[in-house]
Symmetry: C2
Subunit: 695 residues, 2 copies
Amino acid sequence: MPEPELIDHAGLDSAVYLRIYLLGLKIFIPILLLTWAILVPVNWTNDTLDKLKGEATYSEIDKLSISNIPQGSHRFWTHVIMAYAVTFWTCFALKKEYETVANMRLHFLQSEKRRPDQFTVLVKNVPPDADESVSEAVEHFFLVNHPDNYLTHQVVVNANKLAKLVGEKKSKQNWLDYYQNKYERNQAKRPIMKTGFLGLWGEKVDAIQHHISEIERLSKEIAEEKENVTNNPKAIMPAAFVSFKTRWGAAVCAQTQQARNPTLWLTEWAPEPRDVFWQNLAIPYVSLTIRRLLMGVAFFFLTFFFIIPIAFVQSLANIEGIEKVAPFLKPLIEMDTIKSFIQGFLPGIALKIFLILLPTILMIMSKFEGFLSISRLERRSASRYYIFNFVNVFLGSVIAGTVLEQLDTFLNQSVNKIPETIGVAIPMKATFFITYIMVDGWSGTAGEILRLKPLIIYHLKNFFLVKTEKDREEAMDPGSIGFNTGEPQIQLYFLIGLIYACVTPLLTPFILVFFGLAYVVYRHQIINVYNQEYESSAAFWPDVHGRIVAALIISQLLLMGLLSTKEAASSTPLLLALPILTIGFHMYCKGRYEPAFIRYPLQEAMMKDTLERAREPNLNLKGYLQNAYVPPIFKEAESDSDSDDDDDETNDKNWQKDNVLVPTKRQSRKNTPVPSKMSAGSSPTLPEIREKDKP
Amino acid sequence: MPEPELIDHAGLDSAVYLRIYLLGLKIFIPILLLTWAILVPVNWTNDTLDKLKGEATYSEIDKLSISNIPQGSHRFWTHVIMAYAVTFWTCFALKKEYETVANMRLHFLQSEKRRPDQFTVLVKNVPPDADESVSEAVEHFFLVNHPDNYLTHQVVVNANKLAKLVGEKKSKQNWLDYYQNKYERNQAKRPIMKTGFLGLWGEKVDAIQHHISEIERLSKEIAEEKENVTNNPKAIMPAAFVSFKTRWGAAVCAQTQQARNPTLWLTEWAPEPRDVFWQNLAIPYVSLTIRRLLMGVAFFFLTFFFIIPIAFVQSLANIEGIEKVAPFLKPLIEMDTIKSFIQGFLPGIALKIFLILLPTILMIMSKFEGFLSISRLERRSASRYYIFNFVNVFLGSVIAGTVLEQLDTFLNQSVNKIPETIGVAIPMKATFFITYIMVDGWSGTAGEILRLKPLIIYHLKNFFLVKTEKDREEAMDPGSIGFNTGEPQIQLYFLIGLIYACVTPLLTPFILVFFGLAYVVYRHQIINVYNQEYESSAAFWPDVHGRIVAALIISQLLLMGLLSTKEAASSTPLLLALPILTIGFHMYCKGRYEPAFIRYPLQEAMMKDTLERAREPNLNLKGYLQNAYVPPIFKEAESDSDSDDDDDETNDKNWQKDNVLVPTKRQSRKNTPVPSKMSAGSSPTLPEIREKDKP
């Protein structure tokens, strides 16, 4: 499948995500050739390690690494020159790639069909007015300040309570289906349940009857809440989606400051309707700074001190601890197999559970910070996950000891000693990282093609949670590619690869195999398995680029630290120029390409407007945009109430229109998802449910 | 003179500049009251220093400072609480002031009369086109992309060569006047000069004849160059001043991205015509990143290594050195008075000269970086001057030893030991800083009211350089207030004041006297002496605010370092919260107020447009804007050629129109400068010359 078709099929985000792996190949293949041709012979033809034979153990890998070169040798100049070569090649590849991706993005935006978010701007912090409602205030403001461009708007309502009620009703409906199925299978016995917590205690009632009445109650509450949300001015948030007559008008409004007070009438591009994170629209602006500050501090503690509670749990979860708490287990625990199992497994399990939960924790932190689109949330989580990985996986592996000890070491150490401390440890850890790449990278990728983890989770869910056919469908949803967990892991390999490029060239092929394998696997998965959750048009690329540049700078600093201990101090000033040049390169790229990912050029907007006006002069844009940004929960509540109660229909006629959404290219993908192999046979109702879930 | 009148008279920049001194008073008066009421008694009623009587010398000042409190005393809690009080009060005052200044700026912009820069945007990086000239390309691009708003444009020409020629001609004209005067006074002897370097050697010629012929040659060259500049496409830079029909249109264009390639068609607000730094308009965009990087590196070396060349010069400029180079001076130098003079004075003179030249050096560095307006240049120089002062004056005074030694100490020291090292030295240096405030601050301000420095410079110039009446006028120009040298010095007092607020409360009154005195003096100077060079509408306030916040954070870190050595470690975590809170405060202020200094809200623009349309429906805006952005050098060349050669007039008719510039409020100030006392009597021609210089 060629790239344009891939973009067509899976969206630009996925196609560009694959390019990260390709970029890895592009960067490391020439580095491999160069370092093997030059550095390996230079390193090999020394005998430093042979001389140490008696004193220290070393492997053949070390003989090929920088450790084999004697102190103060002039051969270190080769490494300095290679560091320059690696830097220049990486920067060149990065620049090329940035350019390509920026062009792909522009081309994608240009060739796109009409989408509501092209015409729409999200306005936040509408000031309260005693005489006008939010809706009137928005209309007046934009009629005055964008008289030629303003078209229509939709206010944002606080539908969080409604969402909760709808969710509750869904769950009850599910239980009802479960009990009805049970009753059908065994007509003799009407199912009975307890009303208390988790059905463990409380009054015993007839389960089917109880759920039917509960659902009725919830349906009424939902109708009331919907009424309340649409009519109660308190439920209307001081925010609105404002649509314009032209893309030019929307581009102007999104990029300019509207009001004299810079915290009022804040405008930004509206995310795609399916990318909006509706809950956060209700967060007031004043609390955002505080939320961000709090999360910054929380993340700092999470990164450096997460080990404390885990160590505490570990201290409890040993054999003595268990024997103390539950003395009756003593005979069981003292058995040899079980004892060794507990001793080997239990201390690690707290850490493992934490690491599995980490992306979720980071995602919750991002949500708390108040970002308004799912893509922003994922980008934020990804950057935090990368920092966590860098500190705890990379630094934690290089410098033995807990992270806390490291922090203490660093704080009590001179600033320029830090790269030295880490740099010296680098060559010694090559074997470890080769193992890491094979265990985590290769087997992880292999597991991905088998979809081992989802399979296990699916079976676990199937066993414990699935009650009805609908639950099984949901458990089977392959999900999206997960930028927030995948990208930081790739970045770790870039980091390791760049650091070892000049130190232990033997490591590079392992990195290359990872990138090659992962590219093939994820390409397959993207084409055949994953669904796309949203389309951000590769908005994540500046982050990817920035992190590779950061890895490059880290690698240069560590090489500098390493060489300064090798009595090759005269080369240090020459290496000092490298990070400065790299930072300059980054600044250049930022100025040159980043705006393409943040702003929408007026030239582009004007061109599309003109084309559209020529092609469809009689387009009813207002009708098209009117209900594009209705929260999905309304549609869900709608479709639910349709099924039980047709009387509501006239009442909710205004929400009804959504179903005539013009199907665009992206929309059509949603309606015809490529079914995974497993679900293909067993789920004829899947597309139907999908349409209800995400219309 | 009340503030509105002051703004009217001297511009908003000057009025807001005075508010920095007022802010100093507002911050430090309550701090003085609080610290004297609480900290002085707490510090005084200890006897730590009395006990040390025999061992160390101390002054009464030290008895009032934190040094008098015994190690590990619980009294340190008072200082922690006072640090909180100082922080909260300073932040409160800063926020109030930011708000006031932002409102003043908006009010000023709103009440302003029509100015060309309100309608004009500076477009850089117009892409080259084989078929179109720059002028045509600009016109087509903006007609397409801003069809409803585009009005007219003026391309930017590279007039640097022309400027050089005009300057040369002016100088020759001046010499001619000088020789003619000389000849008039003494008709017997025709003045004779040598044509070589500085008139020291070369062929002897008749001076008047020589200069007349030179001026003729230059006039011809100027006419040719002018012809060349206006017609040669190579002299036209890929930049233009684009004017719009409405302020709304200009605000939209300045704040949005125009072209798909984010490095082409860059738009930014045009500075005021008199604020434009014309030379830099000719710098191509690609070199800007490199220039900035270079200057960043250069500034780093300037700050930390400037002492090396000076130490070298100092090593030469001692008695032995002079005796070696010029043995014949030996008997003279060996005389006691001269010897002691050389020994005392010479080593310092290289440093003094460097420090006097420093603002000029920093200004040249900023110019090299390619900023386009004088106000930006001054802001940049100011921020660098502040950093230089902080490192070399503040840190250099606190930690004895050269800056190089310090740098070495810091690099070889652990990160968290740095505030400790400095913090410990702080209380001991109180006496030094009190002397510094008196010598530099008080007497500097007193010297300012007497205008001692300009008086000396004027007399020096008068003696060495002034040849004609015109030269004397130029030497007498009082100049503008000099944001780039004045503001960093005020900031140093903020820094010292905040650092010593909780450590040695005795220092605060000295700071207060400085702020009070300086406010009175500079208010007088601004009203009576200085001329305003440009009006940036207080665009410098975010810098001022940011530097005071930085001073606050530094003071908190140093107090933390100091207390951690006093065995009061338990208070450190509490102090750690302060910088975090302060950074949060800064972020809040940045989001809340900074946009008011960078962007122009559309609401505001629309309001002014609507008002203007109602008041002057038949305004010929095109005529008004047509030649607003002609480089002043053209007008100068124009007025020069008028005086010698009236035939050119028809040729240059297009440049002629400028003289019908609509006089705005600011313009009118230029035409009627308040003459300084000295020049009032002796220069009846001053306004006339001014009009020629800066039309």
